[in-house]
């Protein structure tokens, strides 16, 4: 993920090509390794890790959206789970077939996914007049109400949502290829059979990369600068000509679009939608992701999403090998309890000791090593200051 627009690079010199990759920066090298590992993931990961990875990538998309709203634009939202739910149910309703007394439109899954983004975005836009009038915790509380109201509707609109139990989600497909165990029924790459999880992995990876790319663009662009202005002071922003209400509406809409896509992806990874997947705790989990990663940082939000989605799974999966854990139900610290503790401690510690979250800490580290190595290279601007477009 280069900061530079592609057009500025020419393929005239191999030297330049290599330098354009800039693998000399540790962060970039790490990123390249991560990307390679992710692309090759389905070849060596077990189903458990693939499933965990799908949840993590879906969460990353949602977290990027939330960090644009909370971190960049400074609008506290506890309603993210609501917009995730809107996306998930929209996809399920539009892509689903009419059967068992359930409504369904049987649209192509691609259209349903786009509609999920659009409908969630529209819900965000519809909420933004309220958002425009409220600030800080007032806004957080109003959005808290959304989560409970949404849950009530989903529980009761049984022919659309399946009520409390939820309903099955139609597999994603493009013409001629299904991201499920069928069509083609058997597919192997380098000798590894590619089932539903393997196929979805690439879909999710592509969407997550696209989400990160767009997120960086938005943050660095005009909209992002206006959002940061609103965050740093509405009155001051208004005095330099930023239309505060409109910027807030944009932030809400963009973040809801991200949430809608993330919701649809979560539904696909899960194979089901149920109201419990979009409860208040989910909103809180997303806030935790972006705080751990460093509010406002795209990479930080993604890292936070992976941490929050994978940590409890890992602890439960490997609890038998962790000697300090006691058996569940024995009253000692079991795996699930430990993961809650790690969560809580991580939030408190990051907020008190690590300003800017993991991203901030890494950046400080990066600046230090860069300075030690090549003092000429300027440090990237700090997260909290207004992001600047990088020079072409």
């Amino acid at each position: 993920m280069s900061d530079r627009p592609a057009a500025s690079l020419r393929l005239d010199s191999p030297l330049r090509l290599i330098s354009s990759l800039r693998l000399d920066s540790p962060a970039r090298a790490a990123g390249a390794v991560l990307l390679l590992a992710a692309v090759a993931g389905p070849l060596w990961l077990t189903d458990f890790w693939l499933q965990a990875g799908l949840f993590a990538m879906a969460a990353a998309v949602g977290a990027i959206g939330l960090t644009l709203l909370v971190g960049v634009a400074g609008q506290l939202s506890l309603g993210h789970a609501f917009f995730l739910g809107v996306g998930a149910y929209t996809y399920t309703l539009l892509a689903g077939e009419r059967e068992d007394g359930m409504s369904g439109f049987g649209l192509p899954p691609v259209a349903a996914l786009l509609a999920a983004a659009a409908v969630a975005g529209a819900a965000g836009a519809a909420f933004s007049p309220i958002a425009g009038r409220l600030r800080g915790i007032y806004l957080g509380l109003a959005s808290l109400g959304l989560v409970f109201l949404g849950r009530h509707v989903w529980l009761n609109a049984e022919d659309v949502t399946g009520g409390y139990n939820g309903r099955t989600v139609e597999a994603f497909a493009v013409p001629g290829f299904s991201f499920s165990d069928e069509d083609p029924d058997y597919l192997a790459v380098l000798g590894t059979p590619f089932g539903e999880l393997h196929r979805l992995w690439y879909l999710f990876l592509a969407v997550a990369l696209l989400a990160a790319y767009c997120g960086r663009g938005i943050k660095a662009g005009r909209a992002g600068r206006a959002m940061a202005g609103v965050r740093d002071g509405e009155t001051a922003a208004a005095s330099v000509g930023i239309r505060v209400a409109r910027v807030k509406a944009t932030a809400f809409t963009v973040s809801s679009v991200y949430a809608g896509v993330a919701g649809a992806l979560t539904a696909l990874a899960f194979g089901r939608v149920a109201p419990d997947s979009f409860a208040l705790t989910v909103s809180i989990d997303y806030l935790v992701m972006i705080v751990l990663g460093g509010a406002g940082s795209i990479a930080g939000a993604s890292a936070g999403a992976v941490f929050v989605s994978v940590l409890p799974l890992m602890l439960v999966q490997y609890s038998a090998h962790l000697p300090f854990l006691s058996a569940p139900g024995s009253g000692g610290v079991d795996a699930a309890t430990l993961s809650r503790f790690v969560y809580g401690v991580a939030i408190v510690a990051v907020l008190i000791f690590l300003r800017g979250g993991l991203a901030g800490a890494l950046r400080h580290l990066g600046i230090r090593t860069a300075r030690a190595g090549r003092p000429s290279r300027p440090a990237r601007p700090a997260e909290r200051s207004t992001p600047k477009e990088s020079a072409p």
């Binding site: 693939l50 939820g166 099955t168 089901r272 139900g329 309890t337």
Partner: protein, 415 residues
């Protein structure tokens, strides 16, 4: 940026040449020397079964009791020579009532087990059953919601909540003499447990000329005073409760202190012996009944006694509840299916599911009411239930009064 399309194209090309769409091992599974086909979770010396349960969420108390009893059962069974000359080991995972975690853990367990003896918690069950159906993997101990009947791989341990409630209405009319035309209350959790319970009660009420006054609640509601007042206002002559012990405790005590003296009948999960030490005690002893297809701890059958002895030996301080005979009974059901699969020479996950559907006329020596028949898809294995009353003298707090199979329980249709 520029190098990436090239790299990607190269990768795609490499991947394409490495692609194949014909399954090389679409043939039959592996066999061993004895001619028994085996697959996931079975070796020459071991049969591995999974338990995906909630040991850290709201159901941890009952779930832990069940895990203890199952471990003891399989240890004893293995010590007696095991099944198919193999010892049985149990892989227990805790999803903490989080369905997403349950799905991930299912993915990690499914390739290594021949059957899932238990998946606990209705959101987890709803998420896991479709996956197991696709994998042809046996799932047991998923609660008693009717939705399980839609899955070939599910072995429901007894009858459904709907049949329990239909029997409850029959019992109210036939034995407790609630007159025709009366209203009975139905307080239930949203979801497949409460919803199923309500469906059975509504069918039975229509058949027996009663009216139902339904009140939907959530597991977080633990103060039932407003609900009790609503029931009193509706003039109910009986109440059916499809909820958990918290709600039973509150409802029984409020109704008793308001002088509403009507029978209160609960589905299986509503009762816990600890309630007899709360302010609800008087109300429960006077008016509480429960309809269950698994015997209470104090049940009379020989196998129930064995289950209780085994439990007391392994967990002397454990909570004595209906979970003990349930866990023992589920183990018996799975053991039956495994034995049959071994006889059939097919100890693959698919073979276990097929063997399970051959079970009929199974007498569980009092663990479950009636004889169990799993040969008819879409039907519960029995429609009989135990009716029990709260009894402070009985271990486990319940004493069996009767076994019934009421007319509306028999006429209830599953869609």
């Amino acid at each position: 940026m520029t190098i990436r399309p090239l790299a990607a194209a190269a990768l795609c090309l490499a991947a394409l040449t490495a692609c194949s769409t014909t399954d090389p091992d679409a043939g039959p599974g592996d066999g061993d020397g004895s001619g028994i086909r085996t697959g996931n979770g079975v070796t020459d010396s071991e049969i591995r079964i999974g338990v995906l349960t909630d040991l850290s969420g709201p159901f941890k108390a009952g779930a832990a009791v069940q895990v203890q009893e199952k471990k003891a059962y399989w240890a004893a069974r293995s010590a007696q020579g095991g099944i198919c000359d193999r010892k049985i080991t149990m892989d227990v995972r805790d999803h903490g009532y989080n369905p997403q975690r349950a799905v991930s853990l299912y993915r990690s367990m499914a390739p290594d087990v021949v059957a899932l003896q238990q998946v606990l918690g209705s959101p987890a069950v709803a998420a896991v059953l479709p996956l197991a159906e696709k994998d042809d993997l046996y799932v047991g101990g998923m609660g008693w919601a009717s939705v399980a009947l839609e899955y070939q791989v599910a072995q429901i341990p007894g009858t459904t909540y709907s049949i329990e409630s239909a029997n409850a209405v029959d019992y109210l009319v036939d034995t407790l003499k609630v007159p025709a035309g009366s209203t009975i209350g139905h307080v239930y959790f949203e979801g497949d447990f409460g919803g199923d319970s309500l469906a059975g009660a509504e069918h039975a009420a229509a058949a027996r000329g009663l009216k139902i006054h339904p009140i939907k609640i959530t597991p977080q509601d633990s103060d039932m005073s407003a609900q009790a007042a609503a029931l009193e206002r509706a003039g109910v002559k009986g109440v059916i409760l499809g909820a958990s012990p918290s709600q039973l405790s509150s409802l029984a005590s409020v109704l008793a202190s308001n002088g509403v003296d009507v029978p209160l009948i609960g589905n299986t999960p509503t009762f816990s012996p600890a309630l007899l030490n709360t302010p609800a005690r008087e109300g429960l002893l006077k008016n509480f009944y429960t309809v269950t297809s698994v015997a209470p701890y104090n049940g009379e059958g020989a196998a129930v006694k064995t289950a209780a002895e085994m439990f007391e030996k392994n967990a002397p301080d454990g909570t004595k509840g209906w979970e003990v005979p349930l866990a023992y009974g589920q183990s018996e059901l799975l053991a039956e299916a495994l034995e049959k699969a071994c006889e059939n020479g097919d100890l693959t996950p698919k073979g276990v599911v097929a063997a399970m559907h051959e079970t009929s006329g199974l007498d569980t020596q009092g663990l479950f009411s009636g004889t169990l028949d799993y040969t008819k898809p879409g039907e519960p294995p029995t429609r009989k239930v135990f009716v029990s009353r709260a009894d402070p003298e009985a271990p486990g707090g319940l004493k069996v009064l009767d076994t019934i199979e009421g007319p509306s329980a028999l006429s209830y249709k599953f869609e």
